[in-house]
């Protein structure tokens, strides 16, 4: 526990569960006023209660990030009610299992709309605010699949996470001069609901293949996201940092 985010306003997308919830909880614990957003309004309220209970400051705003107007509304309402937007964590994402042949048009559209377009909309909308503040931290959730591909998720997922790596760099270049950093995190296997389709056997096999012999926890990822959102990372920009127990090194 520290006060590293005292005075900061942070928006976390996909905050109703998993890595988003863990990140919101850690930021709130460390002093941020957090805006938790998710498409699942009921789940969002339950999650917010968990973050508020130890004393965290939370504003909830339900939002479908595929809808540009809703994303704009999310950013504008945060700025209006809390006065600024210091940190944007683009965590909301869709992952579906499937082979190339099973990847339908609908899966392609939804995956790209949520995992890429939603991030583009959010960054575009916060950009003038962060430029005026001369301060910002944007952290995007990519994935090992964005660098390395994989053979169990629909192949549009890796494509979407690869797009995140590239857009992270463009944003880093264009907003760096304004004191805004943009970085990404690239997890491998993390124990979240998104991975609920994994059997116990598959999870064990995955853990055995990881040098530290365990899957990641949502807290492991939240710690890295928080580091990249803090003043300790003021000179880290355009990086996609792997967090995977040593599974992949580049």
């Amino acid at each position: 526990m520290s006060a590293r985010f005292a005075g900061r306003v942070a928006i976390i997308t996909g905050a109703a569960k998993g890595m988003g919830l863990a990140t919101a909880a850690e930021m709130a614990r460390d002093g941020a006023a957090v805006v938790m957003t998710d498409i699942d309004a009921a789940g969002l309220e339950e999650a917010a209660a968990q973050v508020r209970s130890p004393g965290g400051s939370v504003l909830t705003i339900a939002c479908d990030i595929q809808e540009r107007k809703q994303v704009d509304g999310l950013i504008q309402r945060t700025n209006k009610e809390l006065g600024r937007v210091d940190i944007l964590v683009n965590n909301a994402g869709l992952l579906l299992p499937g082979t190339i042949e099973e990847t339908t048009d609908d899966i392609i559209d939804r995956t790209l709309n949520i995992n890429v377009k939603g991030i583009l909309y959010a960054i575009r909308e916060v950009t003038p605010l962060m430029k005026a503040q001369k301060y910002g931290r944007i952290v995007n959730v990519s994935s090992i699949t964005g660098k390395n591909g994989d053979n169990s998720t629909v192949f549009v997922y890796g494509a979407s996470k690869g797009a995140v790596i590239s857009l992270t760099r463009s944003v880093a270049r264009q907003l760096g001069p304004f004191g805004v950093t943009c970085n990404a995190v690239a997890p491998h296997a993390v124990m979240t609901e998104m991975m609920k389709y994994w059997t116990d056997e598959k999870k064990q096999k995955a853990a055995d293949a990881i040098p530290v012999r365990r899957l990641g926890t949502v807290e492991d990822i939240a710690h890295l996201i928080c580091f990249l959102s803090s003043d300790d990372s003021a000179f880290i920009n355009g990086e996609t940092v792997n967090i995977n127990g040593g599974y992949y090194m580049d």
């Binding site: 040098p211 710690h223 003021a234 880290i236 090194m249 580049d250």
Partner: protein
């Protein structure tokens, strides 16, 4: 106080960026062993830490001498009982075009930047394995991933740190020892600090850096603190570039 109860060793910890690491780790609660060639500077930093209420020791160390390295780790364990964090920061630099790069330069660079770094990590790992915990942080450079005229031998030695980091990470993963590398960009210390007096030099250097400034020691300290703390327990074998977005490789 992220490092309460922890013991950290910083090689090259008496001056420049190393000094910032020594002081910064102590501020977070670590007991610090400062390893350096410069006895006067090292003792001064140790005194500074103790004056501020912390605990520190200076051990005169030439990392290119295996005997010195082993004595450093032995002294650390004797004084403080353990070693939790090693910041492998000691390093030297020569600038020369390839046709003027001498054998003597190669021998010195390899001895300090590669062998010295390796033997420090090896000795620390031995103790960390007994504890079943530890953090090794290797300071490389963006020279390892980018090309810069005049830095052939130096860059090669900094590049060697990358596979070294990965193999250490793989071999020590099951012992709960995380090993990572930090690749700093141009920082406003030492030679760069003097050159910054020239606005044209500064403009040229920062032209390629999106953040439009040089790195500060606290930027690098921030990265070291992440890798030194329990927050990074799931991160190992990784190379973290801290350069304002200059390299993006």
């Amino acid at each position: 106080m992220r490092l309460e109860g922890k013991v950290a060793v910083v090689t090259g910890g008496a001056k420049g960026i190393g000094e910032a690491y020594s002081l910064g780790l102590a501020e977070e609660g670590a007991r610090v062993v400062i390893a350096d060639l410069d006895e006067a500077a090292g003792k001064k930093i140790a005194q500074q830490v103790e004056k501020a209420g912390g605990k520190a020791r200076f051990v005169r160390t030439d990392v290119s001498r295996k005997g010195d390295v082993e004595a450093l780790i032995a002294e650390t364990v004797k004084t403080f009982g353990r070693i939790d964090v090693l910041v492998n920061n000691a390093g030297i630099l020569f600038t020369a075009p390839v046709e003027d790069t001498t054998e003597a330069m190669w021998d010195s660079l390899l001895a300090v930047n590669v062998k010295g770094l390796f033997f420090c990590a090896q000795a620390a790992a031995k103790e960390m394995k007994k504890q079943k915990s530890g953090k090794i942080i290797n300071i490389s450079s963006i020279a390892a991933v980018g090309g810069q005229a005049g830095l052939c031998a130096y860059s090669s030695t900094k590049g060697a740190v990358l596979p070294l980091t990965r193999v250490f990470a793989l071999e020590l993963a099951e012992s709960n020892i995380q090993v990572n590398a930090i690749l700093p960009g141009t920082t406003d210390t030492g030679m760069a600090k003097a050159a910054m007096a020239d606005p044209e030099w500064t403009r040229q250097i920062t032209a390629g850096i999106p953040m439009k400034r040089l790195g500060r020691t606290r930027d690098l300290l921030g990265a070291v603190l992440y890798f030194a703390s329990a927050d990074s327990d799931y991160c190992t074998g990784q190379t973290l570039i801290v350069d304002g977005g200059y390299s993006m490789i």
